[in-house]
Point group: C2
Chain length 536, copies 2
């Protein structure tokens, strides 16, 4: 038609994406895809299947699941029919799915998808209103701590394979131990969850502030708060576990006793799985969400800590996590003053990622029962891809890594002079596509050579097919590896017979892939990691 | 905690997904993933990159793009801040992205993502309110019809590789030829688009009904309608093109002349690309959306036609598409009466999939200019995965194909008696995971053998590692291929030394993969296809 619509044309647009969302393209997209494929590969190695649920759920499914963060849920407009909301996480839709499919007694499932929160965005920190989660969950009735240990093994495989070996810590704790501590310290039963939420802020607020919240905002007896303070600053490994087991008051509490027994079993399993040296039993870890019932965990790196605490975090991570002496005072006193806009605090109930954590989860045995009455014990973890991406990209840039290629194209087919050889270039492209070779050519009848060359170079294409008058007359063309140095014997390419095109190209590109490989981010990160990792 | 929330527990839920949406799981998910990977592989073979845009856009970005179908757009509730809507397709967000990124002069991009339409769902036909689209678009200033031809080549590679060779037809037409015809037949300029929309319904309504709409609803002179009727029933290939070029009245129209020249060029290119025999130049194809400016196309299969027309469609598809005699009357007169609920008609403006088409697209040179004033010519196609999935699954079932495996697990590690050998099973699993083997074991301390075996069988796991007292004492275990017949010499497994575990397992699973392959849907479809395809 060539004409514009009545309301199109010169209309002035507010050309942007909605607040807290972004377009993904170019190099960022390539890095993100690589992170997804690394994570997916590990999930599949552990026998997981994937499911996909709708991006919106009936509003009532989500209500009553997220505590005070329910205000962050996006609703769809009421345009007639059902009231719906965008999903807030992948855990509640998974529990809804389990409740609906009562024939399913057990499953290992992963789900990689976007979730939505009307939060205050902080794009540089990777906090968005639309962001990806990668969830892995195990549902079913099994023996204590075995699936829980496998979740932590999966976590360690993923971060090791992303090239973060030696640079992350899995903080773990147990809801039953925490609840036992609160009880023996004298917290009234109806205040346990709210006091637990206050403790959860210790990763970004100093003890004095958390104590103030407990006593002033939540009306806790200051003496009780001080008793809690002595417990929650402690971290370590088996040493800490033994000291808690030796604590007569705590061990007399049945809930705490169960939690401590679980933890002992978990440590044994983590030993077998070679994961024990990556974990830190951290009594200050509480997790905001109400639905956890057992072990809870959060993965942090140096980049996870708030700016002012990074030096401390860095120092503590270099001593790793097995047997630090329990400090007598909270560690993060040096934290910068709380920000006026509350940016650092409004995700304290985040079910997947605390401010700074790059993965988080735990056991939630009662959530499915909220929907159906049927009890299906579950344990899972959610990886925060946006934060993993931000840290990965910053690291690649800092280390001066080669930029990843944007496409996988193997061969660029070029005409040198003549009539542009469009027919020949199309014919050759078709033959290469037919045998699975990734090939491109320039979409002009008579393209300039420099334009074709620039297109191939921009895409980092390793090989070119060159068509010239002389060669074509003899039923031949040249195949040339791009980027060879001056003086290389094959700098001007190698003459091949057009009839043998497919075999000539296939043998070269498969040979090149074996010899020096395609640029591989994970590999590049792994190499850099080996150089940079302390103590390796 | 173990206790339920105040508003949780016994609350009665409406346990369902929103209308027009569904959960994907099990076998369906495996087939869908396989379709995605087949499509993605072809896109990458042609040098495409991928981008990802937010699931919602500012409301004003979408308005004025979809004609009367704008009423189907989902809006987000006004919770303060910007007004947003869920994307209706992937084309408008792509155009918005191009307009925002003015440094990008050209790109081949694909985008596989969900789109949203408040339509009347027809789940069995694959018409959902939330559904996936797979889009491939080429943006940039190139010579006429070269990118257009490559899009059709990509289309043919995808359907061939999905196993549909010989079972689909790419209907093509050109907006400039259509507009030229309407003009020479005497359609007033301001009625061209609305008459074009009426013509577009010829794939599901008989000519008498379309003629009635033109004359009674849209006030077209009946003589003009009859002239149009003589053109739009025609279909064919080069024969039709030549007859139109020989039509003096039509050739005198400058717009039609340009369209015919484009079509001639396109046929030449499709010949080189070996795609010409898959296309049908179909004058009744008009496409609902306003924004097309050049060549337009739609892919149909036998399953695409409405039930009453299937016999006719089947008959015409077996003669393929190159030189059918132009019928003197419209072909689909036998169509069942229009349904009272209008189910068959309310997607007539669908930008990607007509009722029945499995992929569709065309050239849209002016859409980016609607946002930014900058002109970026574009051509693209959108694959309707839900419909492709429905047809694929129905075909697999009809052909009695083996169900695809749900997981990729290579090895299941089992205890035979003893104390359950949990430590040993965990240790072996860890060693196998460390070398990339996909391995599982049963999460019980002392599992029953039949439970372990059932789990392995359910997952179609090809190998097992068996741990027994005798063997372990000697530092050995058994490796056994599952599903061997009685009497096979290795029916009871082969004794291996635990120290050699990794190499013993790796050599077996890689050998097995080369020998008889994993169950591969595409391969299975391809084999079935070769048996069933007429004329091959």
């Amino acid at each position: 038609m060539g004409k514009k619509d009545k309301d199109g044309g010169a209309k002035s647009y507010n050309l942007k994406v909605p607040k807290g969302t972004k377009d993904w393209d170019g190099e960022a997209m390539v890095i993100r895809e690589k992170i997804f494929s690394t994570i997916t590969q590990v999930f599949k190695r552990h026998g997981a299947v994937t499911i996909d649920t709708p991006v919106f759920e009936l509003k009532e499914i989500l209500s009553g699941k997220y505590g005070e963060d329910s205000k962050l849920i996006y609703d769809l407009a009421d345009q007639g029919g059902e009231l719906c909301s965008l999903r807030y996480d992948l855990t509640v839709p998974f529990a809804r799915w389990l409740a609906m499919n009562s024939s399913i007694q057990n499953i290992k499932r992963y789900h990689i998808a976007k979730v939505y929160r009307r939060d205050q965005p902080a794009m540089t920190k990777g906090r968005m209103r639309e962001f990806y989660q990668c969830d892995f969950d195990i549902a079913g009735q099994y023996d204590a701590m075995i699936p829980d240990a496998e979740i932590l093994r999966i976590t360690s495989e993923i971060f090791d394979e992303l090239g973060w070996k030696g640079k992350y810590t899995i903080k773990i704790n147990h809801r039953k131990i925490l609840d036992g501590i609160f009880t023996v310290c004298g917290v009234p039963k109806d205040k346990i969850r709210t006091i637990s939420s206050a403790v959860d802020k210790l990763d970004k607020s100093p003890w004095t502030e958390v104590r103030r919240e407990m006593t002033e905002d939540k009306g806790l007896d200051p003496e009780v708060a001080d008793k809690i303070g002595e417990y929650v600053v402690r971290k370590g490994g088996r040493d800490l576990l033994e000291s808690l087991q030796a604590d007569a008051t705590l061990s007399a509490n049945e809930t705490a006793k169960q939690g401590l027994a679980d933890m002992e079993l978990l440590f044994n399993y983590l030993d077998i799985f070679s994961v024990y040296d990556r974990v830190s039993f951290d009594m200050s870890l509480a997790r905001g969400l109400d639905y956890y019932t057992g072990v809870i965990y959060e993965v942090v790196t140096e980049a996870s800590a708030p700016p002012a605490a990074q030096q401390l975090a860095s120092a503590s991570s270099s001593t790793t996590t097995t047997t630090p002496a329990a400090p007598s005072k909270p560690e993060r006193k040096s934290k910068a003053p709380k920000q006026a806009n509350g940016d650092d605090d409004d995700r304290s109930n985040d079910p997947s990622i605390g401010v700074g954590s790059i993965a988080a989860g735990g056991r939630y045995d009662d959530l499915v029962g909220m929907f159906s009455g049927r009890t299906v014990p579950c344990v899972g973890i959610s990886f925060g891809v946006e934060r993993i991406f931000s840290i990965t990209r910053a690291r690649l840039e800092a280390e001066g890594q080669a930029k990843p290629r944007l496409t996988d194209t193997d061969v660029y087919i070029m005409a040198m002079g003549g009539n542009g050889y469009l027919t020949e270039r199309m014919e050759i492209a078709k033959r290469l596509w037919s045998v699975g070779v990734k090939a491109e050519f320039f979409w002009k009848v008579k393209p300039r050579f420099d334009k074709q060359f620039a297109a191939a170079e921009k895409g980092g294409v390793p090989w070119s097919i060159l068509l010239g008058e002389e060669e074509l007359k003899e039923g031949k063309c040249r195949i040339k590896e791009l980027g060879l140095e001056e003086g290389h014997p094959e700098k001007n390419g190698v003459l091949i017979t057009l009839a043998d095109l497919e075999s000539e190209v296939l043998s070269r590109i498969s040979g090149a892939k074996q010899a020096d490989g395609v640029v591989d981010i994970t590999k590049a990160m792994g190499n850099a990691d080996m150089k940079a990792a302390p103590g390796s």
